[in-house]
Symmetry: C2
Subunit: 347 residues, 2 copies
Amino acid sequence: MILRLAIIGFGNVGREFARMLLAKREWLLRDRGLDIEVLAIATKTKGSLLSKRALDLERVLHHLETHGTLTGFGPENVDLPVIKLIEECDADMMVELTTLDVGSGQPALSHIIAALDRGMDVITANKGPVAWAYKEILNVARSRGAHFRFEGTVMDGTPVFNLVEKTLPGCEIIGIRGILNSTSNFVLDMMARGKSMDEALEEAQRRGFTEADPSLDIDGWDASAKIVALANVLMDAQTNPKKVARKGIREIQPRDIEEAGRKNRKIKLVASASVSGDEVQLKVEPMLIGPEDPFWSVDGTSSAVTLRTDLMGDLTIIEGSPTVAQTAYAVFSDMIQIVNSIRAGTL
Amino acid sequence: MILRLAIIGFGNVGREFARMLLAKREWLLRDRGLDIEVLAIATKTKGSLLSKRALDLERVLHHLETHGTLTGFGPENVDLPVIKLIEECDADMMVELTTLDVGSGQPALSHIIAALDRGMDVITANKGPVAWAYKEILNVARSRGAHFRFEGTVMDGTPVFNLVEKTLPGCEIIGIRGILNSTSNFVLDMMARGKSMDEALEEAQRRGFTEADPSLDIDGWDASAKIVALANVLMDAQTNPKKVARKGIREIQPRDIEEAGRKNRKIKLVASASVSGDEVQLKVEPMLIGPEDPFWSVDGTSSAVTLRTDLMGDLTIIEGSPTVAQTAYAVFSDMIQIVNSIRAGTL
C-alpha cells in the first residue's frame, strides 16, 4: 500500500516527523507493508514544495538545514497559498502542523476542512480545531468518508485518546484531571527552586517549548484548550475553551510556593473535567498537591492525566520529560491508526 | 453476532465478570452488536454447569449466593472433570480464571491448551501460562487460528499489553520497570506506618488480595512471573521466572524502612527488565525510591509500570487502588479485543 502525504507546517515537529519516516522506513515496509511518499510540504515563510512523485526527504531536510529555506530546491518549489496547495496535490492524507491561534483554531481549522472536503484523511497536532470545532470537523469527515485523528493535541504522542478508544472498550470516562501545560509546570518547578517567574519563563522560552505568546501558557489558555479537547472527545462535552472556569498561575508568588512547601505541598496548574448533572464542568486552576498524589512527581516539562472510569477505576498516565520527538510520534502513530482503519474498512 | 462462553474458575473474578456482562448487556448489544451467552461454568469445589442454551447468569449468581454451591441448580448441573467440560461444551471462547500454581502455570496451562486445540479463543487472567509457556501457547493458538489474550495477568485490567499493541505502533520497548505485586507493596506501606510484617500480611490476607501462599508475594515470585510475562510478550525475551535475579522483601526490617524515611526515601519492591547485549536481564528487588520517582505515590495496593521506548521516551501508567472489578474488566476488554480481531479477520 502506497500512502501519499502532504505536510502542512514544517517546523520542528514536521521535520522530526520526516526524520522518523526515514528512520522507520524499513519497519513500515516490512511490518506494515506501507510505502510512504511525501508529495507536498508547506511552510509559512520558507517556501513550499509540490510534486507528482515522492519527494526525497533526506534532500529536503538537508536543503532546509543548509539554506534555511525551500526556495531553490528545484522544480518542485512552488509559490502557492496553502489552501491552493492542498487542493492541487494528489495526497491521500494531510498532516496539519502549522502554528496555531488558540483563540480561534485558525489557520489549522481551514486547512483541515479543506483537506477533508477533498476526501483526504487528516492528522493534526493542533489542539485548537478539536477544542473549538470538534463536532463540525467530525461531520465533514464522516460525510466524506475521511479519517480525522489528533493524538498529538494533548500530551504529545502519549496515548490518551487512543488509550480510551483502543484499550478501554465499554468504559465510560466520568472524570478527567491533568497537568497538561508544560510551560506553567516548568515555571512553577523553577520558582520552587528559587527562580522568579520571569527568569523561569525566559528559560522555558530559551528551551523552545512555550507557546509563541507565553501568556497562553501562564493564563491557562493552553490547558483550557486541552481539557476541552479531552472533554469533547472522551465525555461528549460539546463545549469550548471560553466555558472553562480558568485561573492561571500569573498571580502565584514565591511566598505562596514557599508556604505550600512548608506544608509538604506543591502548587500545580490542574485542569479538570467532571460530570455535574447533565453538564460537564471544566476548570483550570492552581492546586495544592500532596505526596500521595500521582501528580507529585510530575515536575519540569513532564505531564500527566488521570482518567476516572466506571469499570476500571482511576488510571494515570505520565509522560516523562518529552522532546519534540514525542510530538512527531503522535503524528506517526495516528498515521498507523488510520491505515489500520482503512484496512479494516472502519471510520 | 452471538458469542458463546465457557467460564473456567468462578471465584471472585469470575462472578464479577458475570455481573459485568449483565451490567453492560445493553451496551454490548447496541454498541457492539454482541449477544453474549454463557454455556458452561466450572468451579473446583462448588460444582459445574453445562448447557446447550444460554445460562441465566442472574439465577446462577443468586443460586451461588444463596446455596454456596452450583449443586441443585437444575439439569445443567454436571459432574465432569474440567478438561471434559471444555471438550463437551459448544463455546466459542474460554475464560480461564482458576487458582494458579505459579511454579508450573498449572492447571491453567492444560485448560488453555485443551481449549485452543479445539479452536476456541482463550482469555486468561493467570500469569503462569504466559510466564512459563508463552511461545508454546502462541504456536498452538496460531496453528488453530484461535485468539489468546491475557491483559489481566499484569496490573489487572490496566492496559499494558494492549497499550503497547494498540497504541504504540512502531515503538520498541527497550526497558520495563514496575511495582507489580500488590501484597508486598501494601506490606511495605503498612510497615512504614508502624505495623510489623506479620500484622501487615494478616491485614492483606483479611482483605483478600494475597496469593493463596503469601510467600509467593513476599519472596518476589509473583512479581517475577509478571515481569517475565511482560518481557516475553513486549521484548520477546523467551525467558521464565527461574531466570529472574529475585530478591523479595522477607528480610526488610522496620529499621531499614525508618532509615530510608530519614533520607526521604521509600523501600519498594521493583521488578525490571532491561536489554544487555542480546539478552534481556530480569530483576526483582527492594529498591530505594525518591520523591522525584513516578513510583513515589504508588502506595497500598496500587501498582505501576514504566515502559521505556525508542520513539516515545518513558511512559508510566498507574492503577489506583484496584478492586476485583478491575481484574474482571481485563477479561471483559480482552473479550471485546478478540471480537474486534475476528471482525477484522486478524489474529
